[in-house]
Assembly symmetry: C2
Homo-oligomer: 212 residues x 2
DNA sequence: CCGACTTTGTGCGCGCGTTCACAAGCGCGT
DNA sequence: ACGCGCTTGTGAACGCGCGCACAAAGTCGG
């Protein structure tokens, strides 16, 4: 399955859930594609990787598609995640409501600062970073979220990998070095802003040259 | 300039700044590539789009590269951004320190809830969403950040576009419909988690089949 | 039962981006 | 002054992913 397709499946899934809430039971590739911001041909090709679950002349059954996409994404089981770094961003993540209803459970909140141990955030007590190994073992954690400052991110990452965590979502503004069987996804606010800055800059330059 | 290259320039920029703080004055493509998590050939091709600023046999001058990348990204000027939606995530974004030092200034915080008007967050007073047009005009805002719940995101987006904002960073879990001269970048936590879930799922399945 | 209409699934060609490999260029030591 | 070693910049081949366009397949009205 192409990586590009995998990256789009969650988008389709969300659009389908939104459609289901409006009472729609079937949807055409054209409609779903528009709602997902992609072309209809691309959408159909993506879905074809899951199997042939559409009906020609009608479209796709919304519930059925939700089921098959969820299964492909491995959302049948509940994944336990551990969140390291309970600063500004970490607290926002802990309070984010979209975890439970999508099959993810925060097993623990960890922070390197002993002064914060025991503090309740979103109903969970903050524990010491050194408890990481215990948490991963006892709670069956398989995904790690890093929301620490850049300086500590690589250390936290190394600890996670040492504990057997092979999937990491990194919010710290650093590129993490990991073994090749571990995959890391980065979410970096400044990066995104700078990319927007580039395009805005370019648009302004074009408007200068062609003021018509 | 290829879009893929633009997306990597901020990563190089960060790595260069980190190198500069350690006192390094020059860096080879190999070293910078490793620090940025890419291949050296790709890095050189990316940088070649900016011009020929390397010295054969030596590498790149760190300060010079920082300058040229910053200029290409349009970071010479300070961009004003407006943040709409001061919930959990919005507050974390407002408190994020990485804005000022990278050329971005939060011009205002807006929220649709009148009960929150006047409240101070990160030193800025929350204003009403209906003030948007004034803020954009008076403060010269060119970038909008949407951190509202999914339900209100499209409405906020439409208002931003109507005010002339053509660059939007969307944290709400929705695909926004915009005119083609507006570009939107999405940052979606659940999406990233689900992509990780897929890979974790796949790894588990492989381990099952080939337990060796 | 049949024909017209709708929509899926996919084969094919194209364009972008990545990677390899190497010639050109620069500094340094002798 | 000259050659040696290192690093850049880039031409060329490769591969992936996208979009087009159409045949296959199913529905619905008559």
């Amino acid at each position: 399955m192409p990586e590009a397709t995998v990256a789009r499946l969650p988008v389709y899934l969300r659009a389908l859930n939104a459609l289901a809430e409006t009472g729609r039971t079937t949807v055409s590739s054209e409609a779903l594609a528009t709602a997902s911001g992609v072309g209809s041909a691309k959408l159909r090709k993506d879905l074809s990787h899951l199997g042939s679950y559409g009906t020609r002349g009608v479209g796709y059954d919304v519930q059925e598609l939700v089921f098959h996409i969820s299964r492909a994404l491995g959302l049948g089981q509940r994944w336990s995640v551990v969140l390291v770094g309970v600063g500004n961003l970490g607290q926002a993540l802990a309070g984010y409501g979209g975890f439970d209803d999508r099959g993810f459970r925060i097993a623990a909140l960890l922070d390197a600062d002993p002064a914060r141990t025991g503090e309740l955030v979103a109903g969970l007590p903050i524990r010491l970073l050194s408890d990481l190994a215990d948490v991963v073992r006892d709670e069956g954690v398989s995904i790690g979220l890093i929301a620490t400052p850049a300086a500590g991110a690589q250390d936290v990452c190394d600890r996670l990998v040492a504990c057997g965590v092979r999937s990491i979502l990194n919010f710290a503004p650093t590129v993490l070095q990991v073994p090749e069987d571990v995959d890391v996804r980065r979410v970096d606010l400044s990066n995104e802003l700078q990319i927007l800055s580039f395009h805005e800059h370019r648009k302004a330059a074009e408007a200068e040259v062609v003021p018509a």
